[in-house]
């Protein structure tokens, strides 16, 4: 790590380095060495996180000792697998401070969770049903997974889709909130943290407004759950969605939390085994939530892996992780702005922002930036990050995004800065 004597970070960087260095020992992939002996510097955490040994051990233990289908067996393995799967639900419920474990639905990813809500509302009875008179409100900084489901719903029901725009600083423009959220609004769905810009959104103001018109609120916490304390009761939302692979868990597992009364009232989405109470050829009745929304054999091992990831995160402490990332973000936004011709897309300070930082570097295309960084062992993401409207809004084709996590360190930031200098020289 470059030491900046006398800089504002002087006392913070050494502990942050130690924090990250200690944790990365748990992550086998971070020991990897790439082309020409370059150690891997993984700064693509907003796309997906790496997995600690502890999560892989939980997966292996599940498959090597307990694997069985859940819920329907009297044999030992089936009982153990069910206990592990349902135990993971308890862990998720505790992690997000859910009032009840039955409010935690396992899906395959955040995208399914978001689509699940859109589809519930398509087939719901009044007062929830989204029809041609209804309005849906999202924002211009959503991930495609929180845009396309609403476009589909709007096309298929005739409901009107509206959205909050963005300020030049990469924040939500709430100036027209009263025109956007009205008596016609059935649902307001927005991200807690932007995956492209890192912006942390003002939940309370939006939730208050939505509540005042009786609209439901869905919060996409995909970029929040891995990085900060998530308390669904404090958020006061109706639904919260997130995805396991970004928070140290396996791929193939997501979560939808929803308020119990809503989960009782709303219709099922996918039909099949596990989600029924009784079936005849003519008609079926459904099991209570969460099972009503979990058709078929669930991602059992992946839920168990998510439980292990939550144990790992909780042992460290989400507040400590957030503080660590805040230090890194502050250091990174400062140092990045020392790079000539570099323009940050999104907040230029560490206030109300997460650890994903997008930027453009002069007129060097992000693909080229990413390629030259890769050659130095630095993994960043380039492109529109599944949030193309943000690129359109700021008149850029794409960005380079560096995103940090608990195992990131100040020396990763330094390597990124050096790498960007190298990119400039290469295309200079």
């Amino acid at each position: 790590m470059t030491t900046h004597p006398g800089s504002a970070f002087a006392g913070l960087l050494a502990p942050a380095q130690e924090f990250g260095d200690l944790l990365r020992k748990d992550f086998p992939i971070l020991q990897r060495v790439l082309h020409d002996e370059k150690p891997l510097i993984y700064l693509d955490n907003a796309a997906t996180s790496q997995k600690p040994r502890q999560v892989l051990d939980a997966l292996n233990a599940y498959y090597e000792r307990h694997n069985a289908n859940v819920h329907r067996g009297v044999h030992v393995l089936a009982e153990e697998a069910t206990a592990l799967y349902e135990g993971a639900r308890d862990k998720v419920a505790a992690f997000i401070n859910a009032p009840s474990r039955d409010e935690v639905i396992f899906t395959k990813n955040a995208s399914e969770s978001l689509n699940l809500v859109a589809n519930m509302l398509a087939w719901a009875d009044e007062p929830y049903r989204v029809d041609a008179d209804a309005e849906i409100v999202i924002t211009e900084m959503e991930h495609h997974s929180n845009i396309v489901p609403w476009q589909l719903l709007s096309q298929r029901t005739g409901a009107k889709l509206k959205w909050f725009g963005l300020t030049d600083e990469g924040r939500l423009d709430l100036s027209n909130i009263d025109e956007l959220i009205t008596e016609k609004t059935k649902i307001v769905s927005f991200t807690l943290v932007s995956n492209l810009m890192g912006t942390v959104n003002p939940v309370e103001q939006i939730v208050r407004k939505a509540q005042s018109v009786g609209a439901l609120v869905l919060i996409d916490a995909s970029q929040a759950a891995p990085h900060m304390v998530l308390d669904v009761q404090a958020l006061e939302a109706d639904f919260v969605a997130f995805t396991g692979h970004k928070m140290l868990a396996p791929t193939g597992i997501g979560v939808l939390w929803g308020r119990q009364e809503l989960l009782e009232d709303l219709p099922p989405f996918l039909g099949g085994g596990e989600m029924i109470e009784t079936v005849t050829m003519g008609s079926s009745t459904y099991a209570p939530a969460p099972h009503k929304f979990e058709a078929g054999t669930p991602p059992i091992a992946q839920a168990v892996g998510l439980g292990a990831a939550i144990d790992y995160l909780t042992n460290i402490g989400m507040d400590k992780i957030a503080a660590h990332e805040h230090t890194l973000t502050e250091y990174a936004v400062t140092r990045l702005q020392e790079v000539p011709e570099l323009r940050i897309i999104g907040p230029r300070t560490a206030v109300d922002r997460g650890a994903a930082i997008s930027f453009v570097l002069g007129d060097i295309h992000p693909h080229d930036v990413g390629q030259v960084l890769d050659e130095q062992g630095i993994a960043v993401r380039v492109g529109h990050h599944c949030a193309r409207p943000v690129c359109l809004r700021y008149g850029i084709p794409a960005t380079t995004r560096a995103s940090f996590y608990l195992y990131s360190t100040p020396s990763d930031v330094d390597a990124l800065i050096d790498g960007l200098q190298h990119v400039r020289n290469f295309f200079g």
């Binding site: 819920h71 069910t82 206990a83 009784t278």
Partner: protein, 150 residues
């Protein structure tokens, strides 16, 4: 053998000779299903003022669920609703004890034999099926009664 702790003789006796089985007149009828395994019970409750006058049932299920319905019948018929509900709660607690409780024989009588079942999570629902149906039916029957004291 672990199995013996589940299949106590008392349970097997009730299973082979269930008490009060068959449907008779009632104030309320409910139908409960265990979605996990498809076990079903149709259960009727007849109240006589504050007293559980009869609990009659038709059911389909394993030895545990059959025996439990039989024990239920023994324990609640003739009791005041309030006392019967206390028994029901004690039974629920026993079944949720994961093998850590032996049950209070004063309150639960034959039903303490189900203590061993509580160690088998997949079977707890079998033991509870009839009790949950009874709880539901009783609540409905009470709701139908003319309000007396308030």
């Amino acid at each position: 053998m672990k199995l013996d702790s589940m299949y106590q003789d008392i349970i097997l006796d009730h299973y082979r000779n269930p008490h009060g089985k068959g449907l008779r007149d009632g104030d309320v009828e409910v139908h409960h299903v265990n979605p996990t395994c498809g076990d079903e019970i149709t259960l009727r409750v007849r109240l006589d003022g504050p007293v559980v006058a009869d609990v009659s049932y038709e059911s389909q299920g394993c030895s545990i669920s059959q025996a439990s319905a039989s024990v239920l019948n023994d324990l609640v018929v003739g009791k005041n609703v309030g006392d019967a509900q206390a028994v029901q709660e004690a039974f629920l607690e026993l079944m949720q004890s994961k093998g850590t409780s032996e049950g209070d024989e004063e309150v639960l009588e034959d039903a303490v034999a189900f203590a061993g079942v509580s160690k088998f999570p997949a079977r707890v629902k079998c033991a509870l099926l009839s009790w949950m149906a009874w709880k539901d039916a009783t609540a409905k029957a009470l709701a139908q009664q003319p309000a007396v004291n308030d």
